[in-house]
């Protein structure tokens, strides 16, 4: 048996690299005995890494994550999901009510409300990027923290908030219902957005270098398979079907396969090749968090990221 490690995951398509690596035995090949721990939200996962309850996780960069890094508890060691021109990324949605009131493109978001889970979440960051590019002052957009994706969906569908940005499979499914409209794409505003990163505890980054390298290598194999099957679609229909089936074990497991498959296919966004990390974008995010006073102190990029594991750009 290999090293026992615990990997934190959310039941989202964006975590597929881990699921594929596990199911196809890439972790075993790397001498890792992986056990998944599933979370309802990203924030407790970051805390669980800090407390040593899990070893590796994948999540977006949030205020909580940076603050934990500032306390010397965790390090970002690689990249996962990112926005890329030409591939459907996160979409900007508006409610039917707002759409009918003329909010048909992102430049009309001034004075509108925008749903986010929490202050300092990736949704908050996306809203800020859109506002910045459209020249809308941030205080012109009313942020509504609703804690849960489900609550945001409900609020958007019933027209209580005007806008939101979310990964494509949810966005497309909502748009189909006609209660919600897609008015733009995040990758027009943040083309290089490093949405999620791989991270681990400071201790394991510093003292378990070999294990961490093996984990990242296996994770990258899973990511490559995913990109080939569902993003670039170079592996053929059969492989795509097999990959979707495999992912369905973890995502939308309570729905029948026929219903789940389109959601999984629609949700395919590129995962970083070789888990490389867009450090310049991470730094941009870090600076934004600091400017917004969502993180305290003078944490530098080196305290947040351990660049020794993967290629950075």
């Amino acid at each position: 048996a290999g090293d026992k490690i615990k990997v934190g995951a959310l039941r989202f398509t964006s975590h597929s690299a881990s699921f594929i690596a596990f199911e196809k035995g890439y972790f075993k090949d790397a001498g890792l005995d992986v056990e998944f721990k599933f979370f309802q939200a990203a924030a407790p996962m970051a805390v669980a890494i800090a407390s040593g309850d899990i070893d590796y996780g994948v999540t977006s960069i949030t205020g909580g994550l940076i603050n934990l890094a500032d306390k010397g508890a965790i390090k970002v060691i690689g990249g996962a999901l990112h926005e890329e021109k030409g591939i459907d990324g996160s979409a900007i949605l508006v409610s039917d009510k707002a759409f009918k009131a003329g909010v048909t493109s992102p430049d009309k978001l001034a004075g509108r409300s925008f749903g986010i889970t929490q202050i300092g979440s990736s949704f908050h960051y996306m809203a800020a990027r859109v506002a910045q590019k459209e020249g809308i002052a941030m205080d012109q957009i009313k942020l509504k923290p609703l804690q849960k994706v489900g609550a945001i969906i409900g609020a958007l569908k019933s027209g209580q908030i005007d806008a939101w940005a979310i990964v494509p499979h949810i966005a497309k499914a909502l748009a189909k219902s006609g209660k919600v409209h897609i008015i733009g794409w995040i990758n027009d505003y943040a083309p290089d957005y490093q949405v999620t990163t791989v991270f681990t505890s400071t201790d394991s980054a510093a003292n378990q270098k070999d294990r961490t390298k093996r984990f990242l290598a296996a994770f990258a194999r899973g990511a490559a398979d995913f990109n080939a099957a569902l993003v670039d679609k170079t592996a053929g229909d059969a492989a795509a079907e097999a990959t979707v089936k495999l992912i369905h074990k973890y995502v939308y497991a309570s729905k029948p396969y026929a219903k789940a498959a389109p959601s999984i296919r629609n949700g395919a966004m590129r995962l970083n090749e070789g888990a490389k990390l867009n450090v310049s974008n991470v730094k941009a995010q870090l600076d934004w968090f600091k400017a917004e006073k969502l993180v305290k102190g003078a944490i530098g990029i080196d305290k947040l990221v351990d660049k020794s594991y993967v290629k950075t750009y």
Binding site: A48, D53, V149
Partner: protein, 265 residues
Amino acid sequence: MTSGSPNPVPFRGGGFKPKPIGMVGPIVFVAVVALWEVGSRTGFIPALVLPAPSEVFEALRNLVETGLLWKHLGASLQRLILGWTIGTLLGVAVGFSIGLFSLARAGLGPMVAAIFPIPKIALLPLFVIWFGIDEGSKVATILFGTFFPTVVATYGGIDNVDRNLIRMGQSFGLTWLSIVRKIILPGALPAILTGFRISTAIAIVLLVAAEMIAAEFGVGAYILLAGSLMATDELVAGVAILSVIGLTVSWLIGRAERFLLRWRT
């Protein structure tokens, strides 16, 4: 009344004693569900606002058929039982010391009063650090939730034990331990059982909070997942399961009360 001929005395008693009317409860329940179904079918209640009862029922059937119900229930019940039992044992122990010893009362009493009103969900991030992400933090959440009301109910019960009975015990030269075991414990039992009613309800409520943290199975996790996907049918189904657990536990405590307190009028 000012007439000369014999008059029967007018009746003016009775009333102020609501009597159980057998079938009304079930009838109201069925009527509400039926109205709700009709409202959903006719579109009067939009699906977004509330799923139809038939959909909720469908979601429940799904749970049963996939066998997931037992996994969820099993996981949740295990947490409930473990957390509640430990919380209750500790709570009764601390409640007894506050009830019996001046020093414990002076030292622990204010602490309990200050910590009791803290919402457990607010502490979740800290619970992860303190108790890990496995069963520890889930059980701890429930344990904390049950501990405080149990403490308060227990020492309240002890304070209410008839001091005459204690003096009687002393007058027969009973030992301190005998008095505690034979007089104070049974005397405080009714209040402690009432405390159990409250603490079990709180434990069920906290199940959702507890299973926010890395829970794969569990009714709370099921509800949270449903909520995050806005799957209202499953959401309401999960809530119905909690409701049934609540009613079952309350019935069990009722039985326990009838058995343990059969000496009461």
